[in-house]
């Protein structure tokens, strides 16, 4: 029989990791960690609602981020707008398969996989899906690890717009999809952070 800290009335501070004994978390009374003064609770408050909100917002913003042009190369007065996908295709056709694969993974595969995993995790908690808790926790750690790599395309844009700023010969301009894509990346980071993996393990104790 495994015992969780919550069953013993012990809450772990999410900021400094110190354990404290608290009675109940009610609206009238809020508990604070004795070491770092951060608010204490057994589980992240409203974890699932916030994860859903961030996930849905990110999913909707995926549409403009992928349809609108993200980068325009203007060479000798001729503009050539690129979406994320057409940029990948051009790299592939230019025989730069390795770089095309990196950009595809960072800009398309990672955001989509991340959103799918977060939705699976939330549904596993809400619908009590009979999934392996160990595997769900591995997925949770995986999205934390890969989330930041989606920033790759945005950093590349900031490098290219300054590097290729050569007047009439060639300039690179960022497009409207860049902001949408930045919002997707930030929202998926928030969604992953607001999901509390302890909720998965709580299913065993019900």
């Amino acid at each position: 029989m495994t015992v969780t800290a919550q069953q013993r009335g012990i809450a772990r501070c999410t900021t400094c990791g110190k354990l404290s004994r608290i009675t109940t978390t009610s609206q009238a009374q809020s508990w604070h960690c004795t070491r770092c003064a951060a608010p204490l609770s057994f589980r992240q408050p409203r974890s699932l609602q916030r994860s859903w909100a961030y996930t849905l917002a990110a999913a909707f913003l995926m549409i403009p981020a992928n349809i609108l042009p993200i980068l325009t190369v203007i060479s000798f007065g001729k503009g050539d707008p690129d979406t994320i996908m057409s940029g990948v295709v051009k790299l592939w056709q230019a025989d730069l398969q390795a770089i095309a694969a990196i950009v595809f993974i960072a800009s398309i595969a990672v955001p989509v996989i991340k959103l799918m995993i977060i939705i699976i995790l939330i549904l596993a908690v809400q619908l009590h899906l009979p999934l392996s808790k160990q595997q769900c926790t591995v997925l949770y750690r995986f999205i934390h690890f890969i989330g930041r790599w989606s920033m790759l395309d945005l950093f590349m844009i900031s490098i290219l717009v300054t590097l290729v700023h050569l007047g009439n010969i060639a300039t690179v301009e960022s497009g409207p999809a860049a902001t949408a894509f930045a919002a997707v990346v930030v929202l998926t980071l928030f969604a992953a952070n607001s999901f509390d993996p302890r909720l998965l393990w709580d299913l065993d104790n019900d």
Partner: protein, 207 residues
């Protein structure tokens, strides 16, 4: 506001699955893992390590050249172009991509800078055994900044940009890249060797 009551030493709760565990002091010499979900519960304690402070100070020394020196140089039909990390942020801001500019400023400049600066401040105050009132705020801020510091992704961005521009022009790596690589090494060492739980314990036993 109610301060929570203390609980006896030797108890640990897993951050990922909330399993309650009894541990002894000897367990803390090695890295600890949760038996149920395999989360890392604590890192091995090495009290003699000064690497975190040394790496943070070296990182700060490399910071200004890494941010302001040119990273890549481009030669296209006789026209020369170059970019620096700071220049990229300014360029995006001038092109009215304010949101993007602020995000890149945070992830590639502000967060690494604050991470190194706060690690230095925390490291010095632990070694002087003087803990100012702001110590907990520094620690919390350091963790937040560390999570938003994405220079390693930026370094990958440099590689992708380099390969992308190889065909239309002549690209070369400039001095800023070398500083950036050094800075990146410092940041990795600094994150690896900083012992957060120990810093909190010093704060708790300060008086």
């Amino acid at each position: 506001m109610t301060n929570a009551s203390q609980i006896p030493k030797g108890l640990t709760a897993c951050p990922d699955c909330d399993l309650l565990l009894h541990t002894s002091d000897s367990d803390h010499r090695q890295e600890g893992h949760c038996p149920r979900c395999a989360a890392t519960l604590w890192h091995a304690s090495n009290p003699s390590a000064d690497i975190d402070l040394a790496a943070a100070v070296s990182g700060l020394l490399l910071f200004i050249p890494a941010m302001s020196l040119p990273i890549l140089k481009l030669d296209m039909v006789g026209q020369l172009g170059s970019n620096s990390l700071l220049g990229g942020v300014v360029r995006l801001w001038l092109e009215n991509e304010h949101l993007l500019a602020v995000l890149i400023l945070l992830c590639s400049l502000l967060a690494p800078l604050m991470h190194l600066l706060l690690t230095t401040m925390i490291g010095i105050s632990i070694r002087l055994k003087r803990y100012p009132r702001y110590f907990p705020a520094w620690l919390k801020c350091k963790v937040w900044m560390q999570s938003w510091s994405m220079l390693e992704v930026y370094a990958m961005g440099i590689i992708v940009a380099y390969v992308k521009m190889m065909d239309p022009g002549e690209v070369s790596v400039a001095s800023g890249t070398y500083c950036l690589v050094g800075l990146l090494l410092c940041i990795i060492l600094c994150s690896q060797y900083f012992h957060e739980e120990q810093a909190w314990q010093y704060w708790e036993q300060r008086s």
